[in-house]
């Protein structure tokens, strides 16, 4: 009797006209520790080779765009920091700057530099999360537990600035709600002093590590052309070799005065994405140093917001003791500030790409329409193409290196 030949594991051989491959359907997610967020991938596997992926998202959709249509402008930052919660201050500042662009508010330089400092701290925190998780998924648990401490220390700074750690709601339209206290400056100094040796240790552990390189080099690669077609932005696009950075292309908050390098990769694989983020942390540290130098050199040591009484709450002591500030306070909190009608698109370089706000105002107390350009919603659709034909464990690494944040994905 003729024995049927065993099909080659790697090939789609047809034996006597019959496909003898045994395909597996695997649900990766919605809640799986390796997806680092709530989204589902239905994988079709041949052995361990991924043939196809069906993505399901929307598990934590909270309708921010709809809610924003019923909220005074003043109350919208709390929605933005629930998007990319790993770098919430960037989202907050992005929204404030959108409003400032609409209303024509110009911030004093000191407040702008303070924004730069906090946005770069947020970028470092975001990249620490992403890069240590890449290490974790490749089997290196140490950085996740060790380098992560510095993310907590950055959160200590947020806490001292605004009272919150994760969902910061930091700053106000027109500047800052209050000046930073000495502890903030001290802690920023501490980060600048203590983080570089830790980053060096982190790099020593992973960058030329044979095991790490074997796992990440050529894992989930994408060409620059495909990345642009898929609307990639941020570190993921730069890893593919395209030097697009909103901070340079469309400078905001005085970024044009800073001297920094845009790191780019070549092959757009997991290793390049890791390295681009790693290099960006060094650049961010350098930007913070430059900002602190600029702040030191300034004669102005007090101004924290533009002269916009329509947006800045009066001091609490006055609100509790005098009529006029009380009226102003209520006027602002109830959203009675006049806003010009018009359309604005403003974007900032978020932790994982170009975070855009398309705001349409009809002059009312709430936005007529607010569309949020969430970078990971747009680039996550390239995931099936990036992992097709690779191993299941590579898909996990590719996903964590793309820095997909469920809150931003689903808005």
């Amino acid at each position: 009797m003729k024995q049927p030949q065993r099909p080659n594991f790697w090939q789609r051989d047809l034996v006597e006209g019959k496909d003898l491959r045994e395909l597996t359907t695997l649900n990766l997610g919605p809640t799986h520790p390796a997806t680092h967020g709530i989204f589902q991938n239905v994988l079709t596997l041949d052995g361990e080779i991924i043939l196809d992926t069906e993505q399901t998202i929307g598990y934590i959709h909270r309708a921010f765009e709809k809610i924003a249509e019923r909220r005074p402008f003043y109350q919208i930052p709390t929605l933005t920091d629930r998007m990319n919660y790993c770098s919430a201050p960037i989202n907050n500042m992005g929204w404030h700057m959108t409003m400032e662009k609409l209303c024509g508010i110009e911030l004093p330089k000191r407040a702008q530099y303070m924004r730069v400092v906090v946005m770069e701290l947020a970028r470092i925190a975001d990249h620490i999360i992403c890069n240590t998780i890449i290490g974790q998924d490749a089997g290196a648990t140490t950085p996740f537990l060790y380098v992560y401490q510095w993310r907590e220390k950055i959160y200590d700074i947020y806490e001292e600035i605004c009272g919150a750690r994760l969902t910061t709601n930091m700053g106000r339209i027109g500047g800052w709600q209050r000046d930073w206290n000495p502890l903030v400056w001290e802690r920023i100094g501490g980060i600048l002093k203590d983080l570089p040796p830790v980053l060096k240790e982190f790099e020593k552990m992973l960058v030329r590590n044979r095991i790490f390189m074997d796992r990440t080099v050529n894992c989930g690669p994408l060409s620059g052309e495909r990345a642009l077609a898929y609307g990639f932005t941020g570190p993921n696009l730069r890893a593919c070799g395209v030097d697009y950075d909103v901070r340079v292309a469309d400078p905001y908050s005085s970024y044009e005065e800073f001297d920094f390098v845009i790191p780019v990769g070549q092959s757009g694989d997991t290793y390049d994405r890791f390295m681009v983020r790693q290099q960006e942390m060094w650049e961010s540290l350098s930007i913070i140093r430059q900002a602190l130098d600029k702040l030191d050199a300034m004669t102005d040591k007090t101004s924290i917001h533009a002269d916009v009484p329509d947006w800045m709450l009066p001091p609490k002591e006055e609100v509790y003791s005098a009529m006029e500030p009380l009226i102003w306070h209520f006027k602002i909190v109830m959203g009675e500030t006049d806003v010009p009608a018009g359309e604005i698109y403003h974007c900032v370089e978020g932790g994982n790409g170009e975070l855009g706000f398309y705001l349409v105002s009809d002059g009312g107390r709430t936005p007529f329409r607010l569309h949020l350009r969430r970078p990971c919603f747009i680039y996550y659709q390239a995931f099936p193409e990036m992992i097709k034909g690779s191993m299941l464990s590579d898909a996990i690494l590719t996903m964590s290196s793309m820095n997909v944040i469920a809150g931003e994905l689903d808005a």
Binding site: R70, G231, E343, Y345, Y358
Partner: protein, 169 residues
């Protein structure tokens, strides 16, 4: 500032080219931040193709829907295109009536449009002809409404205990 001058010159060029296309362009305006053109529904795909191929707008930044209740052409789509090489952005708008809310898909121009169009379908009920997989993306598949249309209430309309006519819109 040199960069700005070049930008406006380029904007001028795009504007002239678009105006030269005659009837398809309804309106060219310079909104406070960037050049903005309104296009007839039938010509939209054509114009997007020209912008991508002849003017280098190689990236689709966003695509979103809008709803203007009570107007003749109630629904609208807004595209933000980006020419990264030269640093220009442009906003392209088009509108459609409620009885046949359909545009041609832009997935053949930018694969990134795939999910953006699904999102627009999900929230506004605007269909995109030729889309490979036009189904809801963020809401559940049997969701009965298009929630970002203005007539969809944010709060439960049957609630009696809360009068928020003083708040919001």
């Amino acid at each position: 500032m040199l960069g700005f001058a070049v930008k406006t010159e380029r904007d001028q060029l795009v504007k002239e080219a678009m105006v030269a296309r005659g009837g398809t362009i309804l309106q060219v305006e310079h909104e406070r931040d960037l050049l903005c053109i309104s296009v007839e529904k039938e010509a939209l795909h054509d114009v997007l193709g020209v912008l991508r191929d002849d003017f280098g707008f190689g990236s689709l930044t966003t695509l979103c829907g809008m709803h203007f209740p009570g107007e003749e052409l109630e629904l609208s789509v807004v595209y933000h295109l980006h020419n990264m090489r030269e640093g220009h952005r442009i906003r392209v708008k088009s509108r459609t009536a409620m009885d046949h809310p359909e545009f041609r898909t832009a997935v053949d121009l930018w694969p990134a449009a795939n999910w953006m169009e699904r999102e627009t379908w999900d929230f506004f009920g605007i269909r995109f002809a030729g889309h490979p997989n036009l189904k809801r993306i963020l809401n559940m598949e049997d969701f009965p409404a298009f929630p970002l249309r203005k007539d969809y209430p944010l709060e439960d309309p049957t609630r009696q205990d809360k009068d928020d006519s003083f708040f919001g819109r």
